[in-house]
Each structure stands twice: as structure tokens, then as C-alpha cells.
């Protein structure tokens, strides 16, 4: 049984079918990269997994439990799945520390001191120790995105979703955020990424899925998908993306 299994996931916005029957297996500790043109359905798929968007049909199994069941309380599921967004979405009225502490404080019953030392450790680990009391607008994009990652990690999630988290960054800041992803991978975090960083996907991913029009039309290990794509659509996309 895979950590995360998607079976026939369908999501529509009005008449537009954004996810058109998606099947996907993510094994424990795997890093899966979703690639494809903008509008292919990568972001929506991630939002569906985190139950930010209710799916129309199909099933999403987390440790074998169907979390796409309508009527299920989404709060518990979301606490087990972390998500990081393209636009960081830090809370501007809170310091970096308060951003990270908010959810664990509200959701877990844990002493504040214990939590604080745990969170400070995370900040140190990701090179943010001296930024702990800064407000988001006092941080660079790369720092903000790392705080956002720490914020998600503080909930001790079992799976992390990353929605094009380097797309809003200046090119020289992309590296520091990708390094964090590699660190997480080495620690055995299960991760699903929507990304335009082809070089990174090729280096780091365990599996690459190419999406078009809401379907995964090709998937496999990165060498196979990047070096010997079978489908003409994948070939065309990669020719443009790797140009």
C-alpha cells in the first residue's frame, strides 16, 4: 500500500474539467514531481489532495483511508498534510515565529515552551535563526518561502505538497529553497511537487508525472521521462521547457 494513492480523481470548475480522472501512487519517502504547462491541473490536484478543493469524484487514500469521502472533517486531514504555496502566503500581521507557532498552538495540546524550543530548532536548521522575530515584509522572498516551509513542517505532517514554490522567486533565490527540499528528501519526507524547475526534478525526483489537460499522460523515473519520453506531447513540452 502506497502512502498516498489517487484513484480516478475528477475536479470540475463549472464546465471546465481540471482534473480528469487522475491515478497516482506516492510511496513513503518518495519525491514525486508533477510537470506540465500552466493550466494542466497540477496546482488544482495538490489543492484537492489537501482538501482545499472538494473533488467531484474518485478517491484519495492516505494510509489506506479515503480522505476524499464527502462529509469527512477536512481539518484532521489537513493537519497531516503540509502545503506550501507559490506566493508564500505568510500571515503579514505575525512575526516569522508567530506564523510558525499559530497552528501547532491551536491544534496540538503541547506546552508552549516545548513547542517553542522545537520550532527554534527548525528555524536554526533552515538557516533562519536570526529571522525569527522579523515580520514577513522584512524578509527576502527566499526567506519567506523557507519560513512557509517551516510553518508547514511544525505540524509534523506525513506528506508535504509544494505548489510551484520557486516560481515567484528571483532566480538567485531559487537555490536556497531547492536546497531545503533536498534536505527534506534526505530525511525521508514524502513529497509531491508541482514544479517548473526541470533541472531539479531530473536530479531529485523519484518519479516524474507529465500532466496535460487534467490527465497524467506519462510517468516514470526522471531518466525515462526526460531522456526518452514516449508520448509526442511530452516530447513537445520538454523541447520547449528545456530549450
Amino acid at each position: 500500500m502506497a502512502k498516498l494513492e489517487l484513484r480516478g480523481v475528477i475536479k470540475r470548475f463549472g464546465d471546465v474539467t481540471v482534473c480528469d480522472g487522475i491515478d497516482l501512487d506516492v510511496e513513503q519517502g518518495q519525491m514525486v514531481c508533477l510537470i506540465g504547462a500552466s493550466g494542466a491541473g497540477k496546482s488544482t490536484l495538490l489543492r484537492c489532495i489537501n482538501l482545499l478543493e472538494p473533488v467531484e469524484d474518485g478517491a484519495i487514500y492516505l494510509d489506506g483511508e479515503d480522505i476524499a469521502e464527502p462529509g469527512l472533517n477536512p481539518q484532521k486531514v489537513r493537519a497531516r498534510i503540509g502545503m506550501v504555496f507559490q506566493s508564500f502566503n505568510l500571515f503579514p500581521h505575525m512575526t516569522a515565529l508567530e506564523n510558525v507557532m499559530l497552528a501547532p498552538r491551536r491544534v496540538h495540546v503541547k506546552s508552549s515552551d516545548e513547542l517553542r524550543s522545537e520550532v527554534e530548532e527548525l528555524f536554526t536548521k533552515f538557516g533562519l535563526a536570526d529571522r525569527i522575530d522579523n515580520y514577513p515584509d522584512q524578509l527576502s522572498g527566499g526567506q519567506q518561502q523557507r519560513v512557509a516551509i517551516v510553518r508547514a513542517l511544525a505540524m509534523r505532517p506525513e506528506v508535504m505538497l509544494f505548489d510551484e514554490i520557486t516560481s515567484a522567486l528571483d532566480p538567485q533565490l531559487v537555490g536556497e529553497v531547492l536546497d531545503v527540499l533536498l534536505m527534506l528528501k534526505n530525511q525521508g519526507m514524502t513529497m509531491v511537487l508541482a514544479t517548473h524547475e526541470m533541472g531539479f526534478a531530473r536530479e531529485a525526483a523519484d518519479k516524474v508525472c507529465f500532466l496535460q489537460s487534467g490527465r497524467i499522460i506519462e510517468e516514470g523515473p526522471p531518466e525515462a521521462v526526460f531522456d526518452a519520453p514516449q508520448r509526442p506531447e511530452t516530447q513537445a513540452f520538454l523541447a520547449r521547457a528545456l530549450k
Binding site: L52, R78, A79, N89, P92, H93, L102, V107, A152
Partner: protein, 269 residues
């Protein structure tokens, strides 16, 4: 000096000269033409009488304390009630449906009726039920009328503030496993309230002025006191005195609200 700086300095000199001349012309026109009006002497005597102003001004200031007191009691009540109404109108759970209806009806009614009418209806109507002293005081019921009316407006401003918080903030908060209530309390509301501070400042300024409407049902606040002095002295100068006292309070407050508004505009761009 660079070419650009020389050019801009010349432009500034030119603007200053033009502004100076046009201001001088306007003032000259007022000083020359207004006293030429046939009724000027009479208006000057009955509206700008220095002696009357000096005699009544201290007592007007005294009466203004009543305005300040009513204002100070109403403002926090309005903030709380306004926020509750705003939250009631946005409540999603079906159990809160009656609350939602009530919130909508409340804002419709109290925004739809002129303030003075609400003051009359509540200020005369409720004591008319035969309440014992001191619960029949027009101070209480007039204040309640102001609280209800202003809460309706303030609630709408809070609602616009809630809508102004980008939905990605909600997504991020929900993705952490927070409940709808926690998202509202910890993430959306603090930002919403901050966004509407300048607008709410303007409501406070309006409230400060509208406290004078209570004079119509009894309380002797500054406007009523000025009316008393008008009768005693057979002169309108006390009204001008009252206006001056209002301006001393409202001009700095308005400037401050404008400053906050400008600062926020800058932060957003």
C-alpha cells in the same frame, strides 16, 4: 546643480508665485466684496460678536463635555456591536441562519432611516413605555439610537474589510489544519480590522458631530447650550463658538484619518 535640478527649482519658484498671487486675489475679493453686501453690518453684529463669544465660550466648552461623554460611551459599544453584526452576517453554519437574517435586517433598517428619525423614535418611544427614572433618561435612549445606527454602518465597513483579505490567506491557514473559526479569528479578522482603521476613523468623526442630534430630545449638550445662549443674548455668535469647538476636534482627527489612509495606500502599492 544638474540641469534637471535647475529646471525643477525654476518650476517650483513659478508655482509658488502663481499660488501666492491667486490666494491674495481670492482673499482680497472676500475682504472687499463681502462687507459691501447690504446686510453685512447686521450679520457681523449677530454672528461675529466678540463680546458675546468671550462671554459664552467657556460655558460652551463646559457643555461640550457632555458631547465627549456620550461619544466616549457610544464608540466602544458601536465597535463591538458592529463587529458582532458583521460576523453574524458572514456566519456560515445553518444553525446561524436566523442570526444572518437578523444581521441583514438590522443593517437595512438602521442604514435606511435618517439618524434624527431613529433618535426621535427611540428617544421618545422607549421612555414612553413608562419606565421609571432614571431609566427613562433621553441620554440613555438617545445614545442607544446612535449606537444602533452607527453599528449598522460600522458592520458594513468591517464586512468590506473581511472581504479585502486575500483568499490565499484563508487557504494557507486552512491547509495548516485550523478550523474556520480559528482562521477567522487568528488570520482574517486581525488583517481585516487593520485594513479598515482609516474608514472607521471617519465614522468616529461623524459620530462626534452627530452626538448633537440628541439635543432634539433633551440633553443639554453644546448645540442646545448654544441655542440657550442665542435666546439669552439675542445673538447667533454662540453657534459660531460651538462650530469653532467642533472644528478644533474634528480637523486634527480628519487629518489623522487622511494620513492613515495615505499610509495604507502607499503600503499596498
Amino acid at each position: 546643480m544638474t540641469r534637471r535640478q535647475r529646471y525643477e527649482a525654476a518650476q517650483r519658484r513659478r508655482s509658488l508665485i502663481i499660488a501666492g498671487i491667486s490666494t491674495a486675489l481670492v482673499i482680497a475679493a472676500i475682504v472687499i466684496f463681502v462687507p459691501m453686501a447690504p446686510g453685512w453690518e447686521k450679520v457681523q453684529r449677530s454672528f461675529f460678536n466678540g463680546g458675546v463669544l468671550a462671554d459664552t465660550f467657556p460655558k460652551l466648552l463646559e457643555a461640550f463635555k457632555v458631547n465627549v461623554m456620550i461619544f466616549t460611551l457610544c464608540a466602544p459599544a458601536i465597535a463591538i456591536l458592529g463587529l458582532l453584526i458583521a460576523l453574524a452576517r458572514d456566519a456560515k453554519s445553518p444553525a446561524f441562519f436566523p442570526l444572518r437574517i437578523f444581521g441583514a435586517a438590522f443593517t437595512d433598517v438602521f442604514r435606511g432611516v435618517p439618524v434624527i428619525l431613529t433618535v426621535y423614535l427611540i428617544g421618545f418611544g422607549i421612555p414612553g413605555l413608562g419606565l421609571p427614572r432614571p431609566y427613562n433618561s433621553p441620554y440613555i435612549w438617545g445614545s442607544l439610537a446612535l449606537i444602533l445606527t452607527y453599528s449598522a454602518y460600522v458592520a458594513e465597513i468591517f464586512r468590506s474589510g473581511i472581504e479585502s483579505v486575500h483568499h490565499s490567506q484563508r487557504s494557507a491557514a486552512l491547509s495548516l489544519g485550523l478550523s474556520e473559526r480559528q482562521v477567522m479569528r487568528d488570520v482574517v479578522l486581525p488583517q481585516a480590522v487593520r485594513n479598515v482603521v482609516p474608514s472607521q476613523m471617519n465614522m468616529l468623526i461623524a459620530l462626534q458631530k452627530d452626538v448633537s442630534l440628541l439635543s432634539f430630545i433633551g440633553p443639554v449638550e453644546i448645540f442646545r447650550q448654544a441655542g440657550v445662549f442665542k435666546s439669552l443674548t439675542a445673538n447667533f455668535t454662540p453657534y459660531v463658538g460651538a462650530a469653532i469647538i467642533f472644528l478644533i476636534v474634528t480637523i486634527p482627527a480628519t487629518r489623522y484619518a487622511d494620513y492613515l489612509m495615505a499610509k495604507q495606500q502607499k503600503a499596498r502599492s
